[in-house]
Amino acid sequence: MAKLQIREALRRAMTEEMEKDESIFLIGEEVAQYNGAYKVSQGMLEKFGPERIVDTPISEGGFAGLGIGAAMVGMRPIVEFMTWNFSLVAYDQIVNTAAKVYQMSAGQYTLPIVFRAPNGQAENLAAQHSTSVESLYAHFPGLKVVTYATPDDAYGLLKTAIADNNPVIFLESEMTYHVKGDVPDEEYSVPFGKARVRREGSDITIISWGKQIFRVMDAVKKLEAEGYDPEVLDLRSIRPLDQEAIFNSVAKTGRCLVTHEGHIFSGVGAEIVAQVQQACFEYLSAPIVRVTNRDVPQPYATILEKEVNPNPDRILEGAYQILRYS
């Protein structure tokens, strides 16, 4: 079993699929000659040539639309945005076109397309470069939204995304591309709609996804040290949600915390809370708490940013609020 960086795991998934299927191509800013702004597509131009690894000018709406048109006639494009922040200029293309092709044509046209990019805040990038977009896309039926914490899931989920016949919003992070982990050598894929239990436990269910999982695991160490036994669910798939896993876990623990990066208001956390309180009403021994960014545009300075982020201390605070509730 190889230890791969996340960027390598993603590259491997794309490369394997592209070797098998000529209709797949990767298009986006700096993906080819520059080898990717974050080196995810390193070497892919050399391997697949400029017709399949395609550099674009800065026109996200234009090349997102190009991907959609190509997918409608049977290509399987992977569209990379440099970060999801820049997808906001292509928002209409994704939510009001891609999400609706299949329905408006009554199934005549399918849309096998993956939109992928780093999501959420990195560090010190300030207000315009720190958007977490999951709720903005998961809001729309017709789209699927997935993300990963570790290399094995990055690989397996991207395999599934490329094979899917629907538009998939694939959320990465520039902060974790270098993170290394075991990735089995044989090909495999991770199905959508299945959460991953990162830690089994019985006291509280902590639900999260993406790189926030790392903050959660930090906080969990402290909780463990204090004798608590938390269960950690890594959702991986945001739309579809693994309701079964979520509800079963909360039914077991009776306590639930949801934590994610990005704004709180109508975030994905809100959706999960709304579903859990309904499904697990009789099981809950405490209100569900959300720990997200503080409700401000992302500031630049480190000291401010640290305060805004849903850091391990704030996760702990939320957990205590729940665990000590009575």
């Binding site: 209709s23 997102a64 639309g65 048109g69 409608m72 076109t97 017709g142």
Partner: protein, 333 residues
């Protein structure tokens, strides 16, 4: 303005139009007009609902283009009934879609603005002004990748030519030399806003100059001329020389949609424009230049009447959209 190089324009030319073909185009235009008139009627009877944008007056553009690009991919905006029919969507299925019936081209899910028919490569029917133009590049990308001997024809209005999506699409098409024929149907108005109030330049095809694209502007009332010029553009794009932007001057007789009384037109404008009615022009050409007996055309009119009426009846008598289909088309398997 750069125009299609003569060398190519001449190379491409379709054979001169025959009487038979022109009669066929006449029939197509007639059919579109009659179907649209019936759609208007159905709308006032509240059998068609929502937005309904009629193509009456512009028939020569879609029909002339079809004569040159019948086997290519098409993609259009929300005023697309005429395009759909010209490309081969059966009048019945289209009308049934307008009625929201289970037999419609999208079984009632799409309605007037969203006609799709994969059988004849008619790719919609889109509601966001300019929003579908980038898609044309993707279709053209696939054509190139798969070495198909085709182009993608993309229709939009004068109103779309100030939208970022349109511009980005033009930039990319030219950069990648994609086989696209972009057709702006300049009918002078975007809803109530006349051309000169939309743009500092009113020769809209000049938008192409800003991206180095070849373009042409011409009046589109004569279906034969549309056929020939589009054929030249198609040949240019197909040959790998790059995309083309055509600005085809046309005119819509009705309001923007069924709910627009179109009071913004200067007095007499509509009447004047009707003097170059596409159907009348072709009728005249057939009878005067080709010596076709007017009775032959009247017979065609009668046939069209039957087809149109049958479409209407088919739509009317078809079953309502099927509730059980509601969840079937959110995600593909």
């Amino acid at each position: 303005m750069s125009t299609i190089p003569n060398s190519l324009a001449s190379k491409c030319s379709l054979p001169a139009i025959t009487q038979e073909e022109l009669i066929h185009l006449y029939k197509e235009m007639r059919l579109i007009r009659r179907v649209e008139e019936l759609a208007a009627k159905a709308y006032t009877q509240r059998k068609i609902l929502g937005f309904c944008h009629l193509y009456i007056g512009q028939e020569s553009v879609a029909v002339g283009t079809a004569a040159a690009t019948k086997d290519d991919y098409w993609i259009a905006a929300y005023r697309e009934h005429g395009h759909a029919m010209a490309k081969g969507v059966p009048a019945k299925e289209m009308m049934a879609e307008l009625f929201g019936k289970a037999t419609g081209s999208a079984i009632g899910l799409g309605g007037s603005m969203h006609i799709f028919d994969k059988k004849c490569d008619f790719m919609g029917g889109w509601g966001i002004v300019g929003g579908h133009v980038p898609l044309a590049n993707g279709v053209a990308w696939a054509i190139k990748a798969r070495k198909e001997d085709k182009v993608c024809v993309c229709f939009f209005g004068d109103g779309a030519m100030h939208q970022g999506a349109f511009f980005e699409a033009l930039c990319l098409a030219q950069l990648y030399k994609l086989p696209c024929v972009f057709i702006c149907e300049n009918n002078y108005y975007a809803m109530g806003t006349s051309l000169d109030r939309q743009s500092a330049i009113t020769d809209l095809h000049r938008r192409a100059d800003g991206v180095g694209m070849v373009s042409e502007q011409f009046e589109g009332f004569d279906v034969e001329l549309v056929r020939d010029r589009v054929a030249a553009a198609r040949e240019y794009a197909r040959s790998g020389a790059g995309p083309v932007l055509l600005e085809i001057i046309t005119y819509r007789y009705r309001g923007h949609s069924m709910s627009d009384p179109a009071k913004y037109r200067p007095k007499g404008e509509l009447e004047e424009k009707k003097l170059s009615d596409p159907i009348a022009i072709t009728h005249k050409r057939l009878t005067e230049d080709f010596g076709v007996n007017p009775d032959v055309l009247s017979k065609i009119d009668a046939e069209v009447e039957i087809t149109a009426t049958e479409a209407y009846q088919f739509a009317e008598e078809s079953p309502e959209a099927d509730l059980s289909s509601l969840y079937d088309f959110v995600y593909a398997p």
